[in-house]
Amino acid sequence: MSLSFVRTEMEEPQPAPSSTVGIVAWARTNLFSSIPNTILTIIALYLLVRLAVGIFPWIFLGVWDAGSLSECREIFAELYPDGREYACWAVIADRWDQIIFGYYSADQYWRPILGWILIGVSAVPVLYPNTPRSLLYVTVATAFVYPFLVWGGTIWPYLMAAVGFGVGYGVYRILAAVTAGNAFSSVIAVSGSVIAAAVWWIGLSGPISGALAEAMPWGIEAFRSRDLAGFALAITIGVVAIAASLPLAIALALGRQSNMLIVNKLSTGFIEMIRGVPLITLIFVAVVLLQYFLPSGTDVDPILAIMILVTLFTAAYIAEVIRAGLAAVPKGQYEAADSLGLNYGLAQRLIILPQALKIAIPGIVSNFISVFKDTVLVSIVFPNDPLGIADTIRADSNWNGIVWELYGFIALVFFLFCFAMSRYSLSLEKRLQTGHR
């Protein structure tokens, strides 16, 4: 027998056998591939059907139109003489405004609604790169308009807060121009601008906006933080924490990688300190103990304190996720950027961070989801979060005794937000997937 063989013509590709494609093939490989798998499939199907039979009627046969729990029960007694009861969704319909808007008066509902629309619009250019870049102006404006809509008062404090960023940027440009050529130019310019902005916010913006408010009291009805409640509160804290923590986290992660000893140790120390303490403890310290230690008359705005803390807390965690992403970018990428003459800032911005953040997306979004749910932790110092509102509603004699409907609805709203974030993160990962690695 000869071992010699020469192919004279190449074979054409042929379609896969029909038994390996299509729904039947899918079910066979995924549901009934072996005896244990088949048994599991049957058990799971049985449980699913039992669950659906048990829950669906309770949900879909519920009553939406009633004034109290006892009214709900009367309706059920009338409809189902055998004594069966279904969901009393009337509580949601009755207390919808309170759950969503908290304690705004009805004529002020436009404020949170407009604010949420602005947040929605401003998220578009950030989440989807193919949208007009001019929308980013809305994003920047929303950072100042949203607090104005939520807290109200005159427009001046919000405007002065925005001016602080302008002051910082102006000082940065001037210092960068003056010290150009110096090896420490960027360090001097950045620290100078931070100091200038801090001086502006702490020392100057208060008196100036006070004086302007005297002269020109333009604004809308002021709303106290303490009255912020329900999902208006959860969304406000969640959005602020999510939007502010990411830039801070990037700075912390880069700081922790820095060769500059002071920057490195400060970032590391900050991250470790924040991560070492439970969030509840931080909130408790910020609101209760600060109030106790600060000179009497100083009013710590609990919501502001909580927002800052939750932001710092999230930033510390995300910084570690980003650090992992940075570590996963091959050393060759840094070297290629260096060899092309890109300086540190350009290399980070154009080469390293886009790749590191892409790797870190699942971790970052996990933290976002987690912080959005953690907003209910404010209830330990401040019972106005959605769960606190649920307690308030249950304390009302009309709705005393209702449990599943209220908490189920709140859970559903949280789930929708978190699921949306999760799906977006998946789609983002898919979009950023380049090449087959």
Partner: protein
């Protein structure tokens, strides 16, 4: 490694070397912690020279060329590139890096950018070239390395040889006066080595000053006008290729050449 990849000898008559100095390295020493990796390196490279650096692994050849664009820091001695003294001054480092192109063993293309974006990024951000002009330059060099039709793909969709040619084009877009190659073909399949070497020969024929760390002895014989052999962090022997391969002087060089050419 044994058989030279170049089937025909390249005509070298027009590859003139000027007497203008491109790189001047004097008494350069480098340590990794306590370990002395480069010992008293003296090397003068003239404009238009094609130098191949070879030697056993761990001999310091990669480290040497990485010192030239400050990817590695040297601790003693001086390196002057195109008249600029390499010191810890970031301005000088950036200036040298933008004039010295480098190709790596693992290409190091930016995976999140298209081929065209890889090539235009540094000209746009470092040289401040207008985007349109940078793209025209990039297409010019991509044509030169014979892959203009891949411009809008991502690096992950290209073969290794194509990626390395893109990496060469990316360096060329910065219009460097000197090119450094750090084992550019070591991570490639045999079929792809030739296409990369052909690109490098094309560069050499145009008079580019090149320093190549490579084990492609065929390339050295065909293109180089000087071959440097390094061992244990020092330059052991250097000569023009014919003499280097046919009449090595140092015992270590003889052993090395017999190892890589002899089987």
């Amino acid at each position: 490694m044994s058989e030279p990849h170049m089937d025909t000898a390249v005509d070298r008559s027009h590859m003139a070397v000027s007497d203008e100095v491109a790189i001047e390295i004097q008494a350069m020493n480098k340590w990794y912690g306590e370990f002395h990796v480069l010992k008293n390196i003296d090397l003068t490279v003239y404009q238009g020279e094609r130098i191949v650096i070879c030697g056993p692994s761990g001999s310091g050849k990669s480290t040497l060329i990485r010192c030239i664009n400050a990817l590695e820091e040297h601790q003693k001695g001086s390196i002057v590139v195109d008249g600029t003294l390499l010191s810890s001054d970031l301005k000088n480092i950036d200036k040298i890096r933008s004039e010295v192109g480098m190709c790596f063993q693992h290409f190091n293309l930016f995976p999140h950018l298209t081929i065209l974006e890889n090539c235009t990024l540094a000209p746009i951000w470092v040289r401040k070239t207008p985007k349109k002009e940078a793209e025209e330059t990039a297409m010019h060099f991509l044509e030169k390395v014979k892959i203009p039709d891949q411009a809008n793909k991502y690096p992950g969709q290209l073969s290794g040889g194509q990626q390395q040619r893109v990496a060469i084009a990316r360096s060329l877009c910065m219009k460097p006066r000197i090119m450094l190659f750090d084992e550019p073909t070591s991570a490639l399949d045999p079929e792809m080595i030739k296409e990369v070497l052909d690109t490098m020969i094309g560069l050499a024929e145009e008079g580019m000053t090149m320093l190549c760390v490579t084990h492609e002895m065929g390339f050295a014989q065909a293109v180089a006008n000087r071959v440097i052999f390094m061992d244990a962090g020092q330059i052991v022997e250097q000569n023009e290729p014919h003499a280097f391969f046919n009449n090595p002087q140092n015992d270590r060089t003889k052993l090395f050449l017999s190892q890589i050419l002899g089987h």
